[in-house]
Symmetry: none
Subunit: 229 residues, 2 copies
DNA sequence: ACTTAGGCTTAACGTTTTTTAACAGCGGAC
DNA sequence: GTCCGCTGTTAAAAAACGTTAAGCCTAAGT
C-alpha cells in the first residue's frame, strides 16, 4: 500500500556510503547516495524524498548547512545526522535545525535501521507500511497479522512464534545469533530463555514442514539460520 | 478553520506558570496549567491536547519522566521543554525522548510563542488535530462525544470504554503497553486493574465485531494492538 | 432515607500461551 | 571412544488472557 520510502543519503566516505546504500536497499528502501552536500541538495530538489540521512562532515557543503537549506523547502521531512564523534555542540546544533535523530560513528547497521524506522513510524503515523505479505518458501506469511497461510487453513501464530519467525525470515540465509535473538525477543539471555527459544524453534519446524524445502538449521553454539533450498 | 490548539502546560513556579497561562490564552490558545508532573499526566489522560510545554524541574514527577510516560501514549504530540539552565546533558536527554524544542530560562514570551508556532506549523501541516470524527475501520467514532456509530444505532460509550478505545485508535498498529495504559486510565497498575482492563478489552471487541476487519490483538505479556486489516 | 440504574470492579472458570522440567540424541574437544 | 555442553522434543506446570456474571459503589430520582 504505502510506497517504498525514498531516502536521500549524503555521505562523502566512499566505503561507508556504499555500505549504507546497499544495506538500506536490501531492507526495501529506495536510496539515493550523494557524495557531498551540494549534490545532495540537487538530488533533493529533483526527487521526492521521504527521509534524509546526512553526514555532518562533508566537503562542499556540510550536513548542517545542507539541512538548513532543505528545511527552507520542507519543514517536515525527517533528518537524521551521522557524525564522527560524540560532539555535543554539534548534536545541539543539529537538533536546533530540526534533526529528528542523531547517530555517532561507529554505529551498527541495525541501530541505524531501528532509528530510521522509529522515526518513520512517528512521522507516517497510522498509515504506515502494514499488510506486507512475505513468503517462507511456498508459504505465505503476514507478520503484521501474525498469520501463516498453510495448505490446510490459516494458522494464527502466537506472539513469540511470530516474533521468532519474523526474525528468521528477515534474516533468511544469515545466522540469527542466539544471544541477540534472546535479548531482542525475551529481553534477557539466561539459560531458561534459551531453552524456551529451542522449544519455539521446534514449534516452527513442525509448522513449516509442509514445505520440505524449508529448513531451520542449527549452527552449533551460534544460533539458527533459515534456509530455503 | 483548525480548532483552537489545546496546550498542556506543566510548571511548578506559580508566577511563571500564571504568566505563561495568561499570555498563551491571550494569543488564542486553550491552556491547562498543572503544578507538577503527576497532575500534568492526569490532565493529559483526561483531555485531548495538541501541544505540551513542560518545565524540566518539578516536584512529584520531573518533566522528562512525564514526557516519557506521555510518549508511550502518544508518539507524535509535540513537547517543548523549559529549563532553568543551559544544561547540555539535559538538552540531549530531552531530545532523545523526542522533544521538539527546548527553551532556556530566562526567555521572552515572544520567543516561546515563535517556537511554539514554528512547531505547530511543522506538525499540523497536513490536516490533523482536533476533536473530530475518527474511523475505526468502517465505524465512525467521536471520542469527544464518546459515541460510536454502529449499524444498529449510536452507542454511547462509558468513560473507561471511551478512554481505552481512544488510546487504541490513536495508537493504531502500535502496541499499547499494558502498564502505561493502566497508569493512564486507571492511575495504577495492580493485578485487579489489569483484569479490569481485560474486561474492557472484551467489551470493546464485542462492540467492534460488526466490522470483521477490526482486530484487537493481544501481545502476550506486553499489551494490545489495534489492527485494521 | 429508599430505590434504582449505570458503571466499574472482583470473582470465577475456561482457554491459550509461555516457561520449566525431563530425557534423549548430537557434536566437537580431547 | 569418552565426556560435556548444546540441541531436539515432548509433556507438565505456571502465567497470562478471554469471557461472563455477580457484587459493589455512587449518583439520581422518589
Amino acid at each position: 500500500m504505502t510506497a517504498k520510502p525514498k531516502i536521500l543519503l549524503a555521505e562523502d566516505d566512499e566505503n561507508l556510503g556504499q555500505l549504507l546504500h546497499t544495506y538500506l536497499q536490501s531492507k526495501g528502501y529506495e536510496v539515493t547516495l550523494a557524495r557531498n552536500g551540494k549534490k545532495a541538495f540537487q538530488s533533493f530538489t529533483a526527487g521526492n524524498y521521504t527521509f534524509c540521512i546526512f553526514d555532518v562532515m562533508m566537503p562542499e557543503m556540510d550536513g548542517f548547512t545542507l539541512a538548513k537549506e532543505i528545511r527552507e523547502l520542507d519543514k517536515k521531512i525527517p533528518i537524521l545526522f551521522l557524525t564522527a564523534k560524540a560532539m555535543k555542540e554539534d548534536k545541539l546544533q543539529g537538533f536546533a535545525i530540526g534533526a529528528d535523530d542523531y547517530l555517532t560513528k561507529p554505529f551498527s547497521m541495525e541501530e541505524l535501521l531501528a532509528r530510521l524506522e522509529a522515526i518513520l513510524r512517528r512521522v507516517e503515523g497510522p498509515s504506515k507500511s502494514a499488510d506486507e505479505q512475505l513468503m517462507v518458501g511456498t508459504i505465505p506469511y503476514e507478520p503484521e497479522l501474525r498469520v501463516l497461510h498453510l495448505k490446510d487453513g490459516s494458522k494464527k501464530l502466537t506472539t513469540k512464534e511470530n516474533q521468532l519467525l519474523h526474525l528468521l525470515v528477515k534474516n533468511e540465509r544469515e545466522i540469527l545469533d542466539r544471544q541477540s535473538t534472546l535479548r531482542a525477543i525475551w529481553g534477557d539471555d539466561n539459560y531458561f530463555n534459551g531453552r524456551s527459544m529451542d522449544v519455539y524453534i521446534a514449534k516452527l519446524r513442525k509448522l513449516l514442514k509442509e514445505d520440505p524445502s524449508i529448513e531451520i538449521m542449527n549452527i552449533h553454539g551460534k544460533g539458527f539460520k533459515l534456509i530455503i533450498k
